[in-house]
Amino acid sequence: MQDNTPSAIGRRWLDPSRSFGLISGLGLATGLLLAGPALAQDADPAPIVDKGDVAWMMVSTILVLLMTIPGLALFYGGLVRSKNILSVLTQVTAIVCVASLMWVGWGYSMALTDGGALNAYVGGFSQIGLANMTADSLAATFSDGIFIPEYVFVIFQMTFAAITAALIVGGFAERIKFGPLMVFTILWLTFVYAPICHMVWASGGYLFELGALDFAGGTVVHINSGIAALVGAVMLGRRVGHGSEQMAPHSLPFTMIGAALLWVGWFGFNAGSNLEATAGAGLAMINTFVAPAAAGLAWQVAEWVTRGKPSLLGLASGVVAGLVVVTPMAGIAGPMGAIVCGAIGGVICYIAVMYLKNGLGYDDSLDVFGIHCVGGIFGAIATGVVVDANLGGIGLDDYNMAAQVTTQATGVIITLLWSGLGSLVLFTVVSIVFGLRVPEDHEREGLDITAHGERAYNM
């Protein structure tokens, strides 16, 4: 049985040698046969691969894909006007395709292998094209001696890259050019996502070594994509007719299906990040259930109080906000901590979406900033609090709340800066070379016809 006492888990989080260590495939292919006795002398037992873990990680991978397509695609697609839904669906799906090829090509290598001299910031090129990987290559979990096949680890992480890039498109939906978006995606995954993923999750990564906690990707996925979306929204400018014309969601049932599939899939995202099918994953699941529940209801209550009616879109948005908030703390907080964070996070995101956006006047079409970045920041920082064993969290050795919160804030700031500035540069480059925004009459007619030559509905 896994040593699952709070302090042990805490230590594990801070012990670089545990995190995503990989046993190189080639070496192992022959090495394994000899490993038993050799390692025994080192008092280091043969690596254990449990099929239960493998099954769970494959399922988790599939769930994260389900989150993205059709989940996120529908969540977003329902919110745009009917003349643009296909453009959103195409963008999200094509990003999944592009990201998966990029990940196998060089993304995984740059994100999660040893980066040599630059290892604090980015990985290396040893696994370009997964060249040196075999069915015997293993990736470490958070438990001593327990491994999963590296192939499985690669694809689980691949789905994270895909959804992060896909999230961004919500910021400037209904007005971006398709081709340039694809170019931006490749550049962004390479120069923004891979380094941040490495810094946070790879052994030797700057934030990892600092002790920043991010169980399932609050910084890597949500703050990262949220700030990129805001930069994009501002750079592309507001939609034609924004503020004057009707832009009501064309199909809230689609948005609800999307939100539900996001929730369903997020269990793979959060509990899968435990890398093993243990009680720790179970805890992550409970938290991933109750935090969004609390956030969804909190958003609705906030609406009810300030606007008179609790809406479905509010409930769905709150649920997603709660999922964002709980992401970095999923396996770290206790259920009560998760509920409280969810409820607060729901209200904070409601305020961001209702007042901050209108106040500042940017047109973040689908509120990627207001939900993913704002919720992600709150969650990342709150993680430093709720990890406290006294608050029901799993606890950390030598835990000091102020210090941990500072560490968490450092992670937030670095992510905001890296992704914010990186996105600014990349959008600028793509804008100069290809242009980012469609012509106004295309925007009027809708991207479905003008960019993709199709109409969504022919009733």
Binding site: A248, P249, S311, V353, N358, D367
Partner: protein, 112 residues
């Protein structure tokens, strides 16, 4: 001949149609429309964006009738479509020169 076009509340359609059938009207054509008028709409808020919806769903019922039937038809519609609340709708009566039945080529009152 005349065309009687009535804008009514959607849930009144069946009653109106039955009343007209009783009068001997054998055909009519219905269109979904959106009406703007004295009846107030509502406000919808989606993620902080507020939209005033002033167009309300209505049905337009068009009936071509012989001129002498117009009054009876209008009366029947008013009788059934009225709820007494703002937004019950309007009836427009306008002239038609000719009616032709496509299937047979019959014209005017024989085409009705």
């Amino acid at each position: 001949m005349k065309l009687v076009a009535a804008i009514i509340k959607p849930f009144k359609l069946d009653e109106v149609r039955e009343a007209l059938t009783k009068l001997g009207v054998t055909g009519l054509t219905v269109t979904e429309v959106k009406g703007f008028g004295r009846q107030k709409g509502h406000t919808e808020i989606y993620r902080g964006a507020e939209y005033k919806v002033s167009f309300l769903p209505k049905l337009k019922v068009e009936i071509a009738v012989k001129s002498e039937m117009v009054d009876a038809v209008v009366e029947a519609i008013v009788g059934k479509a009225k709820t007494g609340q703002i937004g019950d709708g309007k009836i427009f009566v306008s002239p038609i020169d000719h009616v032709i039945r496509i299937r047979t080529g019959e014209t005017d009152s024989q085409a009705l």
